[in-house]
Amino acid sequence: MSVETEQKTIELIILRQEDPDSKPYEQNFSIPYRPNMNVISALMEIRRNPVTKEGEDTTPVAWDASCLEEVCGACSMVINGKPRQSCTALVDKLEQPIRLEPMNTFPVMRDLTIDRSRMFESLKRVKAWVPIDGTYDLGPGPRMPEAKRQWAYELSKCMSCGVCLQACPNVNDKSQFIGPAALSQVRLFNAHPTGAMHKAERLTTIMDGDGGLAQCGNSQNCVESCPKDIPLTTSIAALNRATTLQAFKNFFGSDNTA
């Protein structure tokens, strides 16, 4: 009769990096198994006891997390080759060893922590909001049909997690492509009855300068990867149509401001 069954472990291989300029390296970890863990709780276990699989002391792995319910996007990382949120990556459903890497299409700050500022800069660039501020009360805006609201809700689920940018072969160090997330927001805010008052401006923005809508190469990895199932490629194709019309209006017409 065996006195003790072998203790179950979780094996992890984590791609680590000291700071934005240093070279990444791999480190192996082996932590005690508990049922129902997610990648975050595995990382917390490493933080509690920062020792590598080989038994050497190391620094705790740095990562980002906030909401822990897949609505904030902060904990996104590459898990077993696919970018996704680590809070909803359940250890029991992952193949081991679990490989964790930062989403390196963004600047890597340390270990799994990345700087997603470019996503927020992009939202500012395309004016992804409904501008209503002014010096007096503008009164109620136009109503939105319920069916359209429900449709637009799907697009509004975007949490700027950056997974679609990580998956896109055209978002890289050689290009300035804005990426699918902000483009889909243009479609969302152009669909809003009040937001549509700045429709032409948003469309012209994504046609202007480098890295706009036109750099989409239709690899469609974004729509396959989006954790919120946002129809990103449909948004891009719809914007292709809208900008085609806008380009003709801008060049031939005189009613091109709205």
């Binding site: 072969p169 890289n172 202007d208 300068g209 480098d210 750099q215 690899s219 469609q220 449909t234 194709a237």
Partner: protein
């Protein structure tokens, strides 16, 4: 690059691929196919093409200039991508990659093809059935032609699919899926026509 140009260049690139280059490709493959009706029929068709009125103008503005613009900007686009089919092995991502690989292959193939036929003609050679038969008499050249033709028809057919997306014709997922089937059909049909012709020149068919 200065502002407000990339969108126009990309759209021009997309348009040129279909009009006139795609149109020319279909016309070219059609003329080639006369080879399957015999040497006489092919020489007559080739003769008709080379004796079209304003032929130098047509060649320059409907063939050479569009192809050069499409090729130069296409290379810029192709080398901007960082391929990730290993991690994201989805069908469309492979098509994205093949479109760029085939584009480079077609550029090499077309440069060689123009050198051997059009430039040879300008230097005095006569373009006829015998010329092509002599070229593909060499098995290596025949293999190069088979690869070149297939890369060209693929690049055109898959390019038609992305043309429809780029111009906002196929927006919905469903229409894009149907367009995939249509472009696959076009690829198979044009490849069949092209390969049938080249194998006839090589004396393997017909």
């Amino acid at each position: 690059m200065s502002t407000n140009r990339e969108y126009i260049f990309r759209r021009l690139h997309s348009l040129l691929g279909v009009i006139p280059i795609g149109g020319f490709l279909v016309a070219h493959l059609t003329v080639n196919w006369f080879a399957t009706r015999g040497e006489e029929a092919y020489n007559q068709a080739a003769n008709f093409m080379s004796n079209l009125p304003f032929v130098y103008f047509l060649e320059a503005f409907f063939i050479f200039i569009p192809i050069i613009l499409h090729a130069v900007y296409g290379l810029y686009i192709a080398f901007q991508a960082r391929h990730n089919t290993k991690r994201f092995g989805y069908f469309r991502n492979w098509m994205f990659r093949f479109q760029r690989i085939s584009g480079v292959l077609v550029l090499i193939f077309v440069s060689w093809h123009v050198w051997e036929t059009r430039i040879a003609a300008a230097l005095g050679a006569e373009v006829n059935f015998q010329m092509m038969a002599d070229i593909v008499d060499n098995p290596a050249a025949l293999i190069a032609y088979i690869i070149g033709i297939t890369a060209t028809t693929f690049h055109f057919a898959n390019g038609l699919w992305s043309f429809a997306v780029t111009w906002g014709i196929t927006v919905s997922h469903k229409s894009q899926r149907v367009a995939t089937y249509v472009s696959a059909g076009i690829f198979l049909a044009l490849t069949f026509i092209g390969l049938q012709s080249i194998l006839t020149f090589a004396g393997i068919l017909g």
